[in-house]
């Protein structure tokens, strides 16, 4: 953890949909500090959504302890939701209402000062479609509308479920910059995704979850340092021919081979290579992200 005030604390969390020993989430523990972006990474059906639903009160807490903004979710009042924002993966808006109406009516549910709907729509590039019915929006526009709605109450804790899923690169970049900006303002962000690139770029720490269990929690950099093999890709000319080799920076024999190449051959390019977070995930969990 990065230190500071704990905004979310989960201890020994278990959940079974059938109320038996078949747990969708088992023995899950983690903490998230104020202002931290915490990535919850795993393939579909790993237990990401179940954990998030328990944190936001859409699933009952069966076993374990969960506190959100200092409040035990078992005993928390509805007013806790004044400080929470949730962006769902599946767009769930009123199709017969316009974008601005969807945000306006939603803003009236909160007991705290809320953002101007038009300002939020502008932030996500929907200002021109603000007065169009949501039923006329494309999937990407609906995704952005849901994302904008989740910011309406200026949440202290922001739950984002696959916020860039199905978005084009430009929109993805816009969403990422909004997330970073919110972090700067002190918002704590719980990011559920199976997109490792997004997680790598945005998250201070990530948790890998498969089969309902967390197998690693750390910053992307520490995970790479701990589990990734540092490599060097070398392109060189030998006996008049262009050749390419990838050598380990850890293995003594391969380090010697690199020295040989540098002294004997004409090295054209040389790049250090880091393992990607996805490769680390596969290495740790033995599963691919799908």
């Amino acid at each position: 953890m990065t230190g500071g005030i704990e905004m979310i604390k989960v201890r020994d969390l278990y959940h079974s949909y059938n109320n038996n020993e078949q747990y969708a989430v088992k023995n899950v523990s983690f903490e998230i500090a104020k202002g931290e972006i915490f990535g919850f990474l795993g393939p579909s059906g790993a237990g990401k959504s179940t954990t998030q639903k328990i944190l936001i009160g859409l699933l009952p807490l069966q076993k374990g302890n969960v506190t959100v903004d200092g409040a035990d979710v078992r005993k928390s009042s509805r007013e806790l939701f004044d400080s929470i924002g949730v962006s769902f993966e599946r767009p769930n808006v009123y199709k017969k209402l316009t974008g601005v109406e969807n945000l306006k009516f939603y803003s009236e549910m909160f007991g705290v000062p809320t953002e101007d709907p038009l300002k939020l729509l502008k932030m996500v590039g929907l200002e021109d479609a603000a007065h169009k019915k949501a039923g006329e929006y494309s999937k990407g526009m609906l995704q952005r509308l849901v994302f904008a709605r989740s910011m309406i109450n200026n949440p202290k804790i922001w739950f984002l479920d696959e916020p860039t899923s199905g978005l084009d690169p430009n929109t993805t970049s816009m969403i990422k910059s909004i997330i970073r900006e919110k972090q700067k303002q002190g918002t704590t962000i719980f990011l559920t995704t199976h997109n490792m690139h997004i997680a790598e770029e945005l998250c201070d720490r990530v948790a890998f979850i498969t089969n309902g269990e967390i197998s690693a929690i750390d910053s992307p950099r520490s995970l790479k340092l701990s589990f990734g093999e540092r490599l060097v890709a070398v392109e060189y000319i030998e006996d008049g021919k262009s050749k390419k080799e990838t050598l380990s920076m850890v293995d003594a024999g391969q380090k010697q081979r690199l020295n040989d190449l540098i002294t004997r051959c004409k090295v054209e390019t040389m790049h250090t290579q880091e393992a990607t977070l996805e490769e680390i995930f596969i290495k740790i969990t033995g599963k691919e992200l799908k």
Binding site: Y17, I56, G57, L58, L59, P60, R78, E79, F81, D82, I84, V86, F88, R90, N92, V93, Y94, K95, K96, L97, E101, F105, Y106, E108, M109, F110, G111, K133, V146, R149, N153
Partner: protein, 347 residues
């Protein structure tokens, strides 16, 4: 209150954009047209009687003929053949042929064939009594009239349909509208978004009941004003309709809480609405009142609406109806809130 008001505005707009208000207005308009212009003010349900004589008639027979002549709706025909011909053309006609047989008057009754045994016996008895009045002891027959001026029988036929219209449109349409609204939101998933805001599920549901109530009251005011006029007990009428609408809405809500899609709930919604409308049969045929029908909440509701529009002095039925429906609505509302919460959390 701010939250509830926000929900109300949202639900009213969603209902408006889904043409609920328009459908309600069109239906009210059609019902008003039907009551004012299509249904006649009077329609006789009594059978027409055609009678004729064959041969010479005795004094006794003349007595019977005199009685028939004075009967409203009875007409003399030239022959039995003419009666049969007329009966074939009008299925609501019966025939009587009076003739002499062995020096005594005899009556032949011509029926359509669908009359029941009771009716046949009653006819035979009445002719017997007319021919032999000395055999009937009228002194032992006493008429007791409980309410001299109920006015129920004076209601024009077209206006007597108005309570039925109010029952069908504001109350039953609310039942269908509310179920549609809830399933639409279930399919859109919007309730999940609202569940992660400070609102309570009870507030979320009650706002829909209020919107349906609003629709019901507008519809009732329109139908009543343009059919029977403004001279009704508005307070009792609107309270009765409000109780009926709340009951219809909470029942629809309860059914909707048990299913996750409209297609799965459809059979139950149709069966329930059919069952709820069975008391409509008892409205025009009061003798059709088996216990299974009279215990239904809509039975009392129907008669309570009539009592509010055409007062007969039995206002107790209105208060009993309002109390009963509201008590059931509270139970249905509580149950559906609980089930709704659980079913949502299961998804």
């Amino acid at each position: 209150m701010k939250r509830l008001f926000g929900l109300l505005k949202k639900d009213a707009l969603v209902a408006f954009r889904n043409y609920f208000f328009l459908i309600m207005l069109i239906a009210a308009f059609l019902l008003i047209i039907a009551a004012d212009f299509l249904i006649p003010e009077k329609a006789s349900m009594d059978a027409k009687v055609l009678y004729t004589t064959e041969g010479q008639q005795s004094d006794k027979a003349k007595l019977l003929l005199g009685m028939l002549e004075s009967e409203e709706g009875a007409k003399r025909a030239d022959s039995k053949a003419q009666i049969i011909d007329s009966m074939k053309k009008d299925k609501n006609t019966i025939g009587i042929v009076v003739r002499q047989q062995n020096g005594e008057p005899a009556v032949e009754i011509l029926l359509q064939g669908y009359e029941n045994e009771k009716s046949k016996r009653a006819l035979a008895l009445s002719f017997g009594a007319a021919l032999n009045p000395q055999n009937v002891d009228y002194s032992s027959i006493e008429d007791v009239v409980l309410q001299q001026s109920t006015g129920i029988n004076d209601i024009p036929l077209n206006k007597s349909f108005v309570p039925l219209m109010i029952f069908v449109e504001p109350v039953m349409l609310g039942f269908i509208f509310l179920a549609t609204l809830i399933f639409m939101e279930k399919e859109e998933g919007t309730i999940k978004a609202y569940l992660v805001s400070p609102i309570r599920i009870g507030e979320y549901l009650i706002s829909k009941v209020v919107v349906m109530l609003l629709l019901a009251l507008i519809s009732t005011i329109l139908i009543t004003s343009f059919t029977v006029g403004l001279q009704v007990n508005w307070l009792l009428l609107l309270l009765t309709v409000a109780a009926g609408s709340i009951f219809g809405s909470t029942l629809a809500m309860f059914i909707a809480s048990l299913f996750d899609s409209l297609s799965k709930a459809m059979v139950w919604l149709i069966v329930t609405s059919l069952v709820l409308t069975v008391p409509m049969a008892a409205y025009f045929v009061p003798s059709f009142s088996p216990r299974a029908v009279t215990i239904m909440p809509t039975y009392n509701l129907l008669f309570a609406i009539r009592e509010a529009i055409f007062p007969s002095g039995s206002s107790m039925i209105i208060y009993q109806n309002i109390g009963g429906l509201l008590a059931m609505s509270i139970i249905l509302y509580g149950a559906s809130t609980l089930i709704y919460k659980r079913s949502l959390l299961r998804d």
